[in-house]
Subunit: 220 residues, 2 copies
């Protein structure tokens, strides 16, 4: 599949690399087509991919992974272009972290809104699916970095898009289908993003990011 | 032990009832000493306890469980009285839910502050410990309502107070000590309270509140 990965940070890098390994046609998008991070990544994957501007990548991908820094996602996606993104599934992976005041970051939006909703409002003709933002980027593409069963959440206004993304996460990244919990429409992104402060606190405590939560379900 | 339980809602009821069953001297506090909920609870526990105003209960307890509605906690605790609460451990159980606009509630405070911190700032001479707010009230006092191991979080500025509360949660309510994760100072309350929107979404999805999260820890 032709897949765009927007963002050349750790998250974009992890996802794009895995997709190249799987044999997909991948274009990594960044602000400038000749970004150092983009070129370094191209070298790392042995040139078996492309890099370009956000707009180049938005036009290229049949599917778009938005791995941009949450604080800049809307700006980056505008550069990718509403026309390029129209009708496509966009997996919004970022968290709306405000890193301007040091660690730990706070959220730029929470409780009554979310980054996932902001992106969906800004691009009403795009099928926005929130996913993967609750785990570390290495774990996103290698769930076995945490032991046993553990859960991932997914939400978005289009049910068919949610199902497709959930299946891709299984086929491509190794998640178990039963461990992916469908939270319904895009307002589910509020809770998914608000998990981040607890995740960050646990990361600080344990000193590494290779953990995830598992829901232990009782009965009524 | 002489224990005050502030708040006559579901949470206060569950905790106070369990403490009475364990043989503690319990006073439930509410806005008015003769509240219907307080009297009903007294009947339910066979009169083996007391009820009074927030101030009565604050004066009575050597330990205070603050189970008030998060939106009203500061007001209720002012009625309990800073002098009554001075030097005591206060377990802040509530979440800062804004229920005024229907379900699901939003949070009155998040990201850069928390109810736990607000309470600690308002009562600097009280040892505020945030705990139990991440699970349903029946599960608080009966962790076996969710299967196997699952986790509880605790935070507060006083380490000794955190340890005491963690031990009480084990002895009294049946939590396993290894499953209680110490998040350090009271700013940990941000993440603990911000878990609530995801919890509420899962509650809506599964139709019952008898679940909890378990951390699945990998290695570096």
């Amino acid at each position: 599949m032709k897949i765009a990965v927007l963002g050349t940070g750790m998250v974009g890098n992890a996802i794009a690399t895995r997709l190249v390994q799987l044999g997909h046609q991948v274009m990594m998008g960044s602000r400038t087509a000749t970004s150092d991070a983009g070129r370094e990544w191209l070298r790392a994957v042995g040139g078996k991919a492309q890099s370009g501007t956000f707009s180049d990548a938005g036009a290229f991908g049949e599917l778009v992974f938005d791995c941009t820094n949450g604080a800049n996602s809307i700006t980056a996606l505008r550069q990718a272009g509403a026309a390029n993104l129209r009708g496509k599934i966009l997996v919004n992976v970022g968290n709306p972290l405000n890193l301007s005041k040091g660690m730990p970051p706070t959220l730029t939006v929470c409780s009554t809104d979310s980054l996932g909703e902001q992106v969906q409002r800004e691009f009403p003709d795009t099928l926005v699916v929130k996913a993967l933002n609750t785990v570390n980027c290495e774990l996103m593409v290698n769930p076995s970095l945490a032991p046993g069963d553990h859960n991932l959440f997914i939400c978005g206004n289009d049910e068919s898009a949610r199902h497709k993304v959930a299946n891709w996460l299984c086929y491509w990244f190794g998640w178990k289908r039963d461990n992916i919990i469908d939270l319904g429409d895009i307002t589910g992104a509020r809770g998914m993003e608000m998990w981040m402060p607890l995740w960050l606190r646990l990361f600080a405590k344990f000193g590494h990011p290779h953990f995830n939560l598992r829901l232990m379900m009782g009965s009524r």
